[in-house]
Point group: C2
Chain length 333, copies 2
């Protein structure tokens, strides 16, 4: 069992108040006593209990991060991993400790345990159900959402400017001379995938009314599904002579690209491929993937800064925090 302040006081021969004063550095302490206390503290490797301290100070300095996923990967997901990395770094720099948890579907169990742990704020990552949001709201605790799918105007939300990004992708591909597009869109209930698609479509229409575009919805925005979807539509794909393929995220784009390579379709010679997100692997792939970069590190960092402001009850500017996305041109186009 860990030592406590009383034990230290006993060994030094002073009261626990004095020990407390030495450790916290506030209040008067004589140099000799201070030294004796510190030497015993060092010797026994005494660390004051954050649990007891939280009890009296009514502050835990803990924040909770919950990632909503129905299956693996959780943190090994290229986007969420990046976000968690930056949350970790920012939180530690600001003096918060982070509880990390994952919940599936509409489970509330992680929320419950976070509340019991008395976290001071909550960061909800990924697409969580509305019932979870309603539940979290009831606890009157600062929270915010990253990469979610809600239209609830009450919820502070950190997302990329998906529609704008889709539009960037459209302009770029159009400008390269492409006029017929095969588009792989993520699940329709996904806010960001929808917006990316809409931005792409509307931008195209604005530029040219005679664009050929075939849109397919993937049940999941994964590598495997990107691959499979293109495989299922292969005959049509080849028959129609599409010159460009746009997917609403990199994973699906990579999946499609993998199939194209296996079937020896030159990229970008015969078909240009473009994704969205700029995950780590996009640059590594061969050919490297042209994409729309979303700065998830910045999003994660800013989310922590904002949560801190909410915790400190400082003024916040806006509920919806949108991040500009930027075109990254690589080998696949």
């Amino acid at each position: 069992m860990a030592y406590n302040i009383k034990e230290i006081a006993l060994r030094v021969g002073v009261s626990k108040s004095t020990v407390s004063r030495v450790i916290s550095g506030k209040g008067y302490t004589s140099p000799e006593v201070r030294e004796r206390v510190l030497s015993v503290v060092e010797e026994l490797k005494y660390k004051p209990s954050a649990v007891a301290r939280a009890m009296v100070s009514q502050r835990t300095n803990n924040i909770g991060v919950i990632i909503y996923r129905d299956q693996q990967p959780i943190v090994s997901h290229p986007i969420y991993g990046k976000i968690v990395d930056s949350i970790l770094v920012a939180a530690q720099a600001m003096g918060y400790s982070v509880y990390l948890a994952t919940d599936r579907g509409m489970s509330l169990s992680s929320t419950d345990f976070m509340m019991e742990k008395r976290v001071e704020g909550l960061i909800l990552i990924s697409r969580l159900r509305q019932n979870v949001i309603e539940y979290v709201k009831k606890f009157n605790i600062p929270y915010l959402m990253v990469n979610g799918s809600t239209d609830d105007p009450e919820v502070m939300h950190f997302v990329s400017m998906d529609e704008e990004g889709g539009s960037h992708a459209a302009s770029y591909l159009y400008q390269l001379g492409h006029r017929n597009f095969f588009v792989i869109a993520g699940p329709q209930e996904h806010r960001s995938h929808n917006l990316r698609l809409r931005g792409f479509q509307e931008s195209m229409e604005r530029m040219d009314e005679n664009i050929e575009m075939s849109v397919y919805y993937s049940p999941e925005s994964s590598f495997e599904q990107g691959y499979r979807l293109l495989e299922e539509q292969w005959d049509y794909f080849i028959g129609q002579g599409f010159t460009a393929l746009f997917a609403t995220n990199d994973m699906m784009a990579l999946g499609a690209m993998k199939l194209l390579q296996q079937r020896s379709v030159p990229i970008p010679g015969q078909v240009a491929v473009m994704g969205f997100d700029d995950i780590e692997y996009a640059a590594m792939y061969s050919p490297s993937l042209t994409t729309i970069k979303v700065d998830n590190s910045k999003i994660g960092h800013d989310a922590v800064v904002m949560l801190d402001r909410l915790i400190k009850q400082e003024k916040v500017l806006s509920k919806l925090n949108e991040y500009t996305s930027e075109l990254v041109i690589r080998e696949s186009t």
Copy 2:
């Protein structure tokens, strides 16, 4: 501020003891009182404070996970991400909450805060310095290391059977007919990279004394360094006519493969490429990468199970837990 048990007791008109009994479900409580208490609890969304509970029960049900990295990626690293995923899932299933932190170099600050938080056990991930290990030891708390680099026999350690894996790789490539190898090895101070290399080399020597093998050490086991190292040795590489390239991890193998593809070297036609780890991207790459699979999910899961045993002071079998690695044959060989 969150409600407390006294507030609930006051509203129901009973003592806090009674409320406590209703919530914990132990001791006698009359049905009517129970119902009244539960309805107020539900109405106010009261959650008992785990902080106060930890105070009296002397158990926090928290474990700490510290990832030692000098730079990003932390959790977005393909291996550590996988490990953290499985730790999260296992820990939650066993009733533990997890604090996640990261430390650089020989910093002790995460250890300190974990001790203050009174975590019941610690999982140390990645290559941490010996001074950190010595520091952790002093606290007399269950801890174990995953994917580390220590030779300290005292430290419970979870690693893959790297030497065996290197040997598998050697046999496989030899059996394919390769006799001259270009090897990219990770940093020499890395235990696992060293063992992988040694297993590869010694196995080769055992099979055939006339093997040509050029070994290069990369300062970092990353994609970029794999790429760069091959680029620097390019003339030699091409001149010598190596038919196989083995890297001691997938990231470096992929980096090298990327360069080979950019320079239009057919894989595996002219050069076969093999990695180690079987990270997610190995299968996605085109061509997909032949590698030695390390089951990091299992390692993470088992580490939690073991930590739980250490916490419960149950008997543990061995300090060193090694996981067999298995050959995964794909397109790159």
